[in-house]
Subunit: 406 residues, 2 copies
Amino acid sequence: MSMPLAVRQMNEARVLARLLNVGPMSRADLARELDVTRSTAGSIVASLIEAGKVEEFDPKAVPGLNPGENHPIRTGRPAIQLRLIPDHALFLGAYIGARELRLCVVDFTGTVRHSFVERLPKVYPSPEDIAQRLADMVTTFVSTLPMPATVRGINVAVPGIVDFGGDILRAPSMNWRRTSFREMLQQRLTGICVHRLVNDANAFAMAEIQRLDAERSQEAVFLLLEDGVGGCVQSGGQLLEGTNGLAGEIGHMPVGDGGHCSHTGIAGAFENYVSRPAVLAHFSNLGGIGTTLGDYLDRLDAGDPLAQTVLDVWANDLSRGLAILTVLLNPERIVIGGRVAQLAKRAELQIATCLQQRLMAETPPPALLVPEAGEAGPEIGAALMLHRAHFEDFGPLGEFQSLSIG
Amino acid sequence: MSMPLAVRQMNEARVLARLLNVGPMSRADLARELDVTRSTAGSIVASLIEAGKVEEFDPKAVPGLNPGENHPIRTGRPAIQLRLIPDHALFLGAYIGARELRLCVVDFTGTVRHSFVERLPKVYPSPEDIAQRLADMVTTFVSTLPMPATVRGINVAVPGIVDFGGDILRAPSMNWRRTSFREMLQQRLTGICVHRLVNDANAFAMAEIQRLDAERSQEAVFLLLEDGVGGCVQSGGQLLEGTNGLAGEIGHMPVGDGGHCSHTGIAGAFENYVSRPAVLAHFSNLGGIGTTLGDYLDRLDAGDPLAQTVLDVWANDLSRGLAILTVLLNPERIVIGGRVAQLAKRAELQIATCLQQRLMAETPPPALLVPEAGEAGPEIGAALMLHRAHFEDFGPLGEFQSLSIG
DNA sequence: GGTTTGTTTGGTCGGAAAACAAACATAGCC
DNA sequence: GGCTATGTTTGTTTTCCGACCAAACAAACC
């Protein structure tokens, strides 16, 4: 790519990122924020309007933007607001759950437009079966679109270990091993690029990053407490991937000698202490009644002392893992997600206290966040990763990635 | 900064990085590697020669470059080789050890030019004392230079916890707490910028990165096993710093309930199992004879079964920490440094086996490296961090850092 | 001659700077 | 109230510069 074109492409991407993360603004605003002249900003915006990515609009004509606000007696010529055209591009994200298949559609502005769920009948569906069902869901949705070409691709979140090539190395909840699922799905989807497979914890993390704040926190750790324990490390705004894309397997950390259950066969693994099966096994071993997490939570809220003991031990075990993450990565925040996070909500103070005891006085403890009701699903994160890939498609000059904003 | 100038500055930096990391080459080589035309490469090189950073030279005139090599019957006009001018800039790095003060000088090509060591008489010197001694060392050295202006600054490696502001939060080996050492030193040094204070493990990691290979490995973890256990995570080529610059305190990871000693007062901390005091305490508790690491190693090499037991336990404990790092970060390699790494050299196979047992079959184990004799010191790493900061002083266009290649 | 290197010349493109035109708000005056 | 002058901010136009590219050319070897 020739140099001047590269500069222009980068500046276009910077304008798009600004409109995405900050919201609608005028050419003059863009010029100020990007530190270019108004004429340059005008030129870039003209290109983007030409390409159908951006449009002018009148805030007063939009009922949603409560009028009266944003008008602190503005003098001078009124600005023309600019915004991304939502329908310019659509990004698909899917999640292969143990019992259901989820698909969502995110538009150019990063907002979720559609969601689809299909329950899976069989206990251990084959990869081919899943690929076919997912492909059918996608093609059914795409056929409803007036402009199918706006679909830019699909990312798939998988509850297991995925490598860079798109192979699933292991998905315990479905009993899969070494499956080249990406290729399998791509063969069943014509005209739609299967961009990449991602770990479900990474996808969850991306969705939470978007939900909590667009780009404020740069250093965070995300935990996904389910039947296994997944995780994801955000550093410098990026998600750590590791050499083979296998980073973040927090649940496999050997933190002790035993545990309450054995999920993956690794002795003393973190998830043997704090995952859903671990909580239930512990509760049951102590003589507790109930076989589901809901049962346990009911007992806990009813004041069952056994349940309380399980919670105390759980909080202590969790804090050990959090301490490891804290001293190693010094995150600004740790987000605890997944169904088991409901225990964390009931022991927040306890976890924080235990964590602090395991840290030196000089180590600032991270903020612990437990998402309330509006927890975002992995499929949204998967779609957002694709969305973000399109917007982040520029780096140091001359090192452009393969994707194009096109 | 205006745009065209920014592009030029970045290309100049790219040329410098090439000459630094790959070695001397011609304008045509640069044009090919950077994907610009020969005319552009020539223009950039002319600027750099003008600035006194680069020079032409004749390889045949240099005795060091064994002739006959690099001449596989080359046709066409012979190329003029270009290289960095070593004396263009000098970078200082210091290390505040428990018993000595170390200073080294690195030139523009990243090679160590001078080293100075001063033994410290007092057991717990005050920060002011150290600052004054270090300032004296630096000014003494600078006064020997014909061109003092080539000194671009100094980085100081500290065996303790350092935050971004240059404050030392805690340095157990010297019994320091909350000392604004950077300011203290800067006041005693006129004309030389005290760039930053760095953790000694991070500095060690930087030196090893340079020594092992300039930029091949992007994902690695470095351990420094001494009286405490420091560490450093390299991801995407960068060293992880964390929110407050406190990342990498691997020794403080709570990996168990006890340990053989208590270095920092954190129960079950990793360094209570694998640091030098831990090894000696364990050996002594079992009835072993000897009070220094050298004594222990002598017993071990003599076939003392007690010493062997200590080694076995040590390797097992170490592998647990390595497993945590591996599943969390998926590094390509783990470098085990420090004096205690001599144990690792004697148990390499054992460590690798224990580590593999703690990982899932799908997780590729990292390569374990134990530096041989030529272990680089933290002061070299500190200087190299400053050196690298000058060369990495460009990123996405329009987001330039404060440093200039000047 | 063939080949590779390094330089020169003309051209293109993106952005900066400054002037200009447009679209308001306000103030003042009738 | 109606009208005009003024000030302010926005968006566009014009002119210019600097960086790179493409192609031709000169130089230095085999």
